[in-house]
């Protein structure tokens, strides 16, 4: 596709030494690494909370924690996994890979890039600090519905401010990504020649700018309701709590696609490499992503069918939601067509990609079931919903992130990772993730509600299976940490190409990618 254009004549500086390299970094690779390390750390923080949840649910009755703390755990687990883990993980991929894939020397706004990242640890610590305040952490669920959320203790303003900070960080990252892609592409890299990962992030960044201010507005209104005497959501003062649900889900549903679109992008990079065929229907994939992004704005009230709405509203949101299956199916069929008659091999990234394909589709189908308004009256707030969104987020988004990490790790570190351990990691993850979440469909359909620390004895067996799966899945991820550390410290040297003729400009630079790449733009043939 291009000639290598990496120059070492940037003789003025390499990376700074010591802590200054990281704290003051404006280098997209260093900032990408920090995002990824932060995300991995938060995976274990959020994972520890899921251990508390699953330990409590191991058998019926109250075992370890009181119900209020249980609710704090479910809430913080969700907030941390969404805002502190999976979004920063994909921001890390964006930082590392977008400049390399479009032939840019760095992100367009490097100082703001530093700021976007460094807000995150402070916001995360502030959110976690509420655990130690009077009244504890938010216990309203990640949806932060009033009036429940307004009943929390001293931690309320801290939790709200941390959500604001996380939003500001995301918006700045989104602006940076859009500006970089629109302005710093190498000559010849037209929009329709951009790799799918870049495309999915471009659209994701627009989604972020469109919906993060809405969440921020809702949260600000919560704060003014609590402290400044307004009644946006307080019925006693003429407000309407349901308004917050509309605001939250106008943000919340596109947020789901903010999480999954970059995952689609990573899968679209991995499958062609290991099928040894170009991505089938690249342009159709772009339009499908754009279609999904558009539809994500007009489906939000499917989260609120049971709140009560006119029949016309139910029909509209039901139909618009089911429409999403069409562009999503375009993507799934195109990935399948890419593999069709390909010379496939099954290295670890490909295993995670295929695992994604099967299990994300399970989550997609249960999503279709939930979209059917009359059926949703039964499923709503049951464990079936928990099973659905965990299938989309864990073997969906998280598997894509892990697959992407294995795929690009040789480019990042200059070493091949341990393939055998990678494969063991995949199979352990795949078995345990299904053991965790598949039984939750059954207990949900049988009537077990979500967000409760105790349950009827009829659900005991499936819950025990689910807990064993969760512990196994969590512990399996320690293997990922070991593989990463081993790969960073040494191993077989990676070539520039790493894989067998993979597509993309990132494979034209040496491995590990030098601190500065594409000081002069590459030439695209």
């Amino acid at each position: 596709m291009s000639e290598a254009a990496t120059h070492d004549h940037h003789d003025d500086h390499g990376p700074e030494k010591g802590w200054r390299r990281w704290v003051f970094s404006t280098n997209h690779k260093d900032i990408g690494t920090m995002y990824l390390v932060f995300a991995l750390t938060m995976l274990f923080v959020g994972g520890a909370m899921s251990f508390v949840i699953r330990a409590e649910l191991f058998q019926p009755g109250l075992q370890f924690v009181n119900p209020d703390f249980f609710n704090q755990m479910t809430t913080l687990h969700a907030l941390i996994m969404v805002f502190g883990m999976i979004m920063p993980a994909f921001a890390g991929f964006a930082n590392w890979m977008i400049p390399l894939q479009i032939g840019a020397p760095d992100m367009a706004l490097p100082r703001m890039n530093n700021w976007s990242f460094w807000i995150l640890p402070f916001a995360g610590v502030m959110l976690l600090s509420t655990l130690f305040m009077e009244g504890g952490a938010p216990a309203s669920g990640w949806t932060l519905y009033p009036p429940l959320v307004l009943q929390m203790g001293n931690g309320f303003p801290f939790a709200m401010f941390s959500v604001h900070l996380l939003g500001i960080s995301s918006i700045m990252a989104a602006i940076n990504i859009i500006v970089t892609i629109l302005n710093l592409r190498a000559p010849g890299m037209t929009l329709m020649r951009m790799p799918m990962f870049v495309w999915t992030w471009l659209i994701t960044a627009y989604l972020l700018i469109a919906v993060m201010p809405v969440l921020a507005g809702g949260v600000t209104m919560l704060i003014t309701d609590q402290f400044f005497g307004t009644s946006f959501f307080q019925a006693a003062g003429g407000g309407d709590p349901v308004l917050f649900q509309h605001i939250f889900w106008f943000f919340g549903h596109p947020e789901v696609y903010i999480i999954i679109l970059p995952a689609f992008g990573i899968i679209s990079e991995i499958i062609p490499t290991f099928a040894r065929k170009p991505l089938f229907g690249h342009d159709a994939m772009v339009y499908a992503v754009a279609g999904i992004a558009f539809l994500s704005f007009i489906v939000w009230a499917h989260h609120m069918f049971t709140v009560g709405m006119p029949l016309a509203g139910q029909l509209f949101f039901m139909m618009s939601t089911t429409l999403i299956a069409i562009p999503t199916a375009v993507k799934v069929f195109n990935w399948t067509a890419t593999m069709w008659k390909g010379a496939m091999t099954f290295e670890t990234p490909m295993l995670f990609a295929i695992g994604f394909l099967f299990m994300f589709t399970i989550g997609g189908f249960s999503g279709l079931m939930l979209a059917i308004a009359p059926a949703d009256f039964q499923y709503h707030d049951s464990y079936f919903v928990v099973a659905h969104f965990h299938y989309v987020l864990v073997p969906g988004a998280l598997f894509a992130a892990i697959g992407g990490a294995y795929y690009w790790m040789p480019k990042w570190t200059g070493h091949m990772y341990d393939e055998k351990l990678g494969k063991i990691h995949f199979w352990l993850s795949a078995v345990f993730v299904n053991l965790t979440f598949f039984p939750q469909h059954f207990v949900g359909l049988a009537g077990m509600p979500r967000r409760i620390p105790d349950y009827s004895t009829q659900f005991a067996d499936f819950n025990m299976m689910s807990s064993v799966g969760a512990f196994g899945f969590g512990l399996s991820q320690l293997l990922l940490v070991y593989v990463i550390i081993k790969c960073v410290r040494g191993g077989e040297k990676a070539t520039a190409e790493v894989w067998d003729h993979p597509p993309g400009l990132e494979w034209t630079v040496p491995s590990p990618a030098p601190h500065h790449t594409f000081d002069e733009p590459p030439v695209l043939k």
């Binding site: 602006i175 500006v179 710093l184 600000t220 733009p521």
Partner: protein, 40 residues
Amino acid sequence: MTNMTAEKNEAQRRTIKRTAIILGLLAVGWYFGFMALRLL
């Protein structure tokens, strides 16, 4: 597009700045505008 000459770099810098400011204003405007909608 990445450019090499100094004049082009200056033009590119301005475009980057302009795009970023427009997007930033959109985000901040939408935040306040959205809340203002409720106050109408």
